[in-house]
């Protein structure tokens, strides 16, 4: 019982309404349309990037070195077919679908350069602004999801970077972990007036569009159409994690007995991952969730075991469990990375400094194999003993999981061809 007149697409119908004069009480029709647009999209491919801002000490998390002078205070525990930190027990229990890539070697040990390199696969150059990978996925998959009324790339407390030559329509839509969208409501204006406004706007815009002034006026209308759609979309519910069962929220955010009130910051990351799960469920193909506090030049072990690792462990394990329970894990690839790792050598402040030569990234889910590690560093963690990997290889692996051909080539504004994921190769051990 569709409400759109027969032989009329919804889009056409909407534009018809917007172009008509102000007297139509259109709101009740719009509401019906929203109901029809609210279709939960399962089994759609998606990627969740967990961004560890500051550069996490992966030697204490994913690639421990017991027995080495660089080994630090933590012991490894078994996680499916590999070993990870003892402070990640819940994640270890879900590791059958996850993997560690232990031979990242990325050269860039400056925060800005590392952030750019890991997000785009390219080192920064003055020639061109490369798109952050979320924008690439938005460009490749978002445009094909016609029923998606909210942005196809969402960043929750992350640091996503620019859409570069892929343009603003693929830019990250940035929200905080409260999920409040600024300016999403026409406060104090009733539906009737809103429709009057939109109808008049349509008249003026259409007049200008048809006045032989190029393509730009239509582009303006298209962006407004998307924004209006977002204002009225039921899919906006995906940003509201308080709609979840309190037990679910607890599972993502409660890292156990609080130690000195340090749990709050971690809870934010859990809230972010829960929102990411809701967004992916609504059809969003790429969500980035940020967790900060990793630039640990001092006091690394206490900070990790009392603060960062318990909350991260809780959040990641909750996400993986949730994805498994909802049969989404086979479609959702998760990537965990920061701008670089940290020095194997422990400094005089019991900290670790920036280190890009040999470190780890975690990746899993989707149709990737799981429960293992790829590559290895030496006994002291100083060099890669196996083939070194670049961010492009990680993103190429994600492409594989998302069903995006790694042969895809984009064209920069200056007409230069740019290979997706900088021409990286999916990691063979992880793909079927």
């Amino acid at each position: 019982m569709s409400f759109v007149p027969a032989g009329m697409t919804r889009r056409h119908f909407m534009s018809h309404m917007a172009a008509s004069a102000a007297t139509i009480p259109a709101i009740q029709f719009m509401q019906h349309l929203q109901v029809h647009a609210e279709t939960v999209k399962k089994n759609q491919k998606a990627c969740i990037l967990m961004w560890m801002g500051g550069g996490p000490p992966t030697i204490d998390i994913w690639d421990l070195k017991p027995g080495s002078k660089n080994g630090g205070e933590f012991k490894p525990i078994t996680a499916a077919g590999t070993q990870i930190s003892e402070h990640m027990p819940k994640t270890a229990a879900q590791f059958d679908v996850l993997n560690v890539v232990r031979s990242m070697s990325t050269r860039e040990a400056d925060h800005g350069r590392g952030r750019y390199f890991m997000h785009t696969g390219y080192v920064p150059t003055p020639t061109v602004v490369h798109p952050t990978f979320g924008s690439v996925v938005s460009h490749e998959l978002g445009s094909k999801r016609k029923e998606l009324e909210i942005p196809s790339f969402v960043s929750i407390g992350g640091d996503p970077g620019s859409p570069g030559f892929l343009g603003m329509s693929n830019a990250a839509f940035v929200v905080n972990t409260q999920g409040r969208i600024q300016n999403a409501d026409m406060d104090g204006v009733d539906d009737n007036r809103r429709n009057h406004r939109l109808a008049m706007l349509g008249t003026i815009e259409d007049n200008f569009i048809s006045s032989k002034r190029g393509e730009a006026p239509q582009a303006h209308k298209d962006v407004y159409k998307k924004a209006i759609q977002l204002m009225t979309s039921k899919q906006m519910e995906a940003f509201k994690i308080d709609k979840e069962d309190p037990k679910t929220i607890d599972r993502y955010t409660n890292a156990g007995a609080p130690t000195g009130g340090m749990m709050r910051a971690g809870g934010e990351f859990g809230r972010g991952l829960l929102m990411a799960r809701r967004l992916v469920e609504a059809g969003v193909p790429f969500v980035e969730v940020g967790m900060g506090g990793w630039d640990l030049h001092a006091n690394v072990f206490n900070t990790l075991k009392d603060r960062n690792l318990p909350s991260m462990d809780t959040a990641i394990s909750a996400l993986i469990t949730d994805l498994k329970e909802r049969s989404m894990i086979k479609d959702v690839v998760v990537v965990w990375m920061g701008e670089f790792g940290r020095t194997p050598r422990i400094n005089q402040d019991v900290g670790r400094d920036h280190w890009a030569a040999s470190w780890s990234v975690m990746i899993g889910g989707g149709n990737l194999k799981g429960g293992t590690h790829v590559g290895a560093t030496d006994a002291d963690g100083l060099t890669c003993e196996t083939k070194p990997y670049l961010p492009g290889d990680i993103w190429a692996t994600a492409c594989y999981a998302l069903g995006i051909p790694t042969t895809t080539v984009h064209t920069s504004k200056r007409g230069r061809p740019m290979k997706i994921a900088n021409g990286g190769t999916p990691i063979p051990e992880l793909i079927g």
């Binding site: 859409p163 030559f165 200008f208 998307k226």
Partner: protein, 577 residues
């Protein structure tokens, strides 16, 4: 069943209205300006186009303007393009205000201009706007964005950069002096604001690569960045030349000072400073594609300056290499600095430069009007790099005075957005910058008068809004201003944000309040709302829609607010046309 009848109802209503609208007779008063333009156009249609165009003048008698017109017209003839009609006064005055002073004209100015019978009124407006404080504000905004970007990088002082540029545009300083100061700048980022251009290129450690690329691109109109890694595929630029240029930037040293904040009980950021590293090697090394390492010495287009650079300054420091470079850049009768500025300013007004892209001049990328670029460059130098004079030449040209509506003939042949060479047969649309949009909303709505905030409060409010808007807008310097690159958050900000909410408020002193109080008739009120936001009167369909809205709305004020909301949110408002 209910659904079905509702469905029928809407179709019926839509159809009925469409008939009502098409059947309605045009009753709205036509704008006198556009009427004038139409009758002019009608008269001109009878004559050959070339003949009519010879008669065109804004009232300025500068011979260079005739030269510009001839050159542009030659392009039309050669490409068999007919120019669009001369723009109506309403369209033109909105455009020239936005382009010179950065905001739409106030309604009184539009009405005055439309009623003005002076044949030289356009050239007089240009002269008046060049002396308007808005000129300094607008061009300070433009060049702050060009030099440090819309988003201020960390440890860069936007205030400092603005202060330097404001002074330059207030005094109309010769452009070569401005470039000299910026390229050679040293010191505290607020005391010598010129340093912020280079500080903004030093956000990542890169041996001055970005500083090299950006300086040549912005001030010389050359893109050398590709040659960092390989010889340029299409022009004479060699990889070695990139590093020879880069050599001048190797003394760059940024020092970030911190201070103790007693209140906060910790160290906080203080000022930053651009310093000169002493004892830097006279050559830089770079790796060629074949793996060989080579050395590059300071050299400007083949002119070797190794000896000069080896000198000490009066304080016994190594000489400032960037000062040596800056002097070379501005030397001569028609240096690249002049051509780059002429081209840049042309593109600010027309949306496209005489080369496309505007900052990529060279034999590999021929200019659309090479003689024009050349002559404008040498005249600009002869004028002692007078930026205001350059604006006068551009705004009084015929091409700047035609309408933005393409004609049947020039629509396809002259469509640079689709890849054709810009022939300037009609004026291309430009997106307002964030600053132009903000200032236009203020002017169009008297928003500054409806609240009771002080100047400082108003400036703070503006800064906060711009910051949000820029984040929502995204920045990419590679973009042409002629494409629309707005984002969803930006549209949400326009539709539902505080600024537009304030703008359409009907508080005492606001535009709406004034209009409603001073204008008794609804038709006049509607006309004035259109005039102030779009620079034109409503067409019959729009006038009818507005009247309908007034009729069905229980609250007339709300109806006017909704109307104004729609006008300010429209594409026609946000584009410069």
């Amino acid at each position: 069943m209910r659904t079905w009848s509702g469905n029928r109802l809407v179709c019926w209503v839509v159809a009925g209205l469409a008939i009502a609208i098409s059947a309605s007779v045009a009753i709205t008063a036509e704008e006198s300006g556009s009427k004038e333009a139409k009758s002019k156009a009608a008269a001109a249609d009878a004559k050959p186009v070339g003949k009519r165009r010879e008669e065109f003048t804004t009232g300025s008698s500068d011979v260079l303007i005739s030269f510009i017109n001839e050159q542009i017209r030659q392009g039309w003839t050669d490409n068999e393009i007919e120019p669009s009609e001369v723009a109506g006064d309403g369209e033109w005055i909105r455009r020239v205000y936005l382009d010179i002073v950065g905001h739409v004209p106030p309604m009184e100015e539009i009405e005055k201009f439309l009623g003005d019978k002076d044949k030289a009124k356009r050239s007089k407006v240009v002269d008046r706007l060049l002396d308007d404080p808005g000129y300094v504000r607008h061009w300070t905004n433009v060049w702050t964005n060009l030099t440090i970007g819309q988003d201020t990088p960390q440890r860069v002082s936007r205030k400092g950069m603005e202060k330097f540029l404001r002074e330059a545009f207030t005094k109309n300083r010769p452009w070569n002096d401005v470039v000299m100061d910026i390229v050679s700048a040293e010191g505290h980022f607020e005391e010598n604001g010129a340093v912020n251009f280079l500080l903004a290129q030093m956000v990542m450690p890169d041996d001055g690569v970005l500083a090299t690329a950006k300086t040549t691109r912005l001030f010389l109109g050359m893109q050398v960045q590709c040659t960092q890694c390989h010889n340029h595929p299409f022009n004479d630029w060699q990889q070695r030349q990139f590093w020879e240029f880069n050599n001048f930037f190797r003394q760059l040293q940024k020092e970030d000072h911190r201070k103790y904040d007693a209140k906060a009980g910790r160290m906080v950021d203080d000022y930053s400073e651009l310093k000169r590293r002493d004892g830097v090697a006279d050559h830089v090394t770079y790796e060629k594609r074949n793996g060989l390492i080579e050395a590059a010495y300071p050299r400007y287009f083949g002119k070797d300056v190794v000896d000069e650079v080896a000198q000490k300054d009066k304080d016994g420091w190594d000489v400032n290499r960037r000062e040596v470079l800056a002097k070379l850049m501005i030397d001569g009768e028609k240096p690249l600095v002049a051509l780059a500025m002429v081209n840049r300013m042309w593109s600010q007004f027309f949306g496209y430069g005489i080369t496309k892209p505007v900052d990529d001049m060279g034999p590999h990328n021929p200019a659309s009007h090479p003689d024009l670029l050349d002559r404008l460059g040498s005249e600009f130098v002869k004028s002692r790099y007078d930026v205001k004079q350059l604006v006068r030449w551009i705004c009084n040209s015929e091409a700047y005075n035609v309408t933005s509506q393409a004609s049947k003939v020039n629509e396809e042949k002259d469509n640079p957005a689709a890849g054709t060479t810009a022939m300037f047969s009609h004026v291309y649309l430009k997106s307002m910058s964030a600053e132009q949009l903000y200032d236009s909303l203020i002017v169009a709505t008297n928003a500054h008068k409806s609240g009771r905030s002080s100047w400082e409060q108003a400036e703070d409010k503006k800064r906060v809004w711009l910051r949000q808007f820029v984040i929502a807008f995204g920045t990419d310097e590679g973009d042409e201003s002629t494409t629309f690159n707005g984002s969803i958050p930006q549209a949400l900000m326009m539709m539902n944000g505080d600024l537009v909410k304030d703008a359409i408020s009907a508080q005492k002193g606001s535009f709406l309040n004034t209009i409603l109080a001073e204008t008794p008739k609804d038709t006049d009120r509607i006309r004035r709302l259109y005039l102030t936001s779009l620079g034109r009167a409503p067409n019959p369909k729009e006038a009818k829609g507005a009247q309908d809205l007034l009729r069905v709305s229980p609250d007339k004020l709300a109806a006017y607010q909704d109307m104004f909301w729609a006008l300010l949110n429209s594409n026609e408002f946000i584009f410069i046309h």
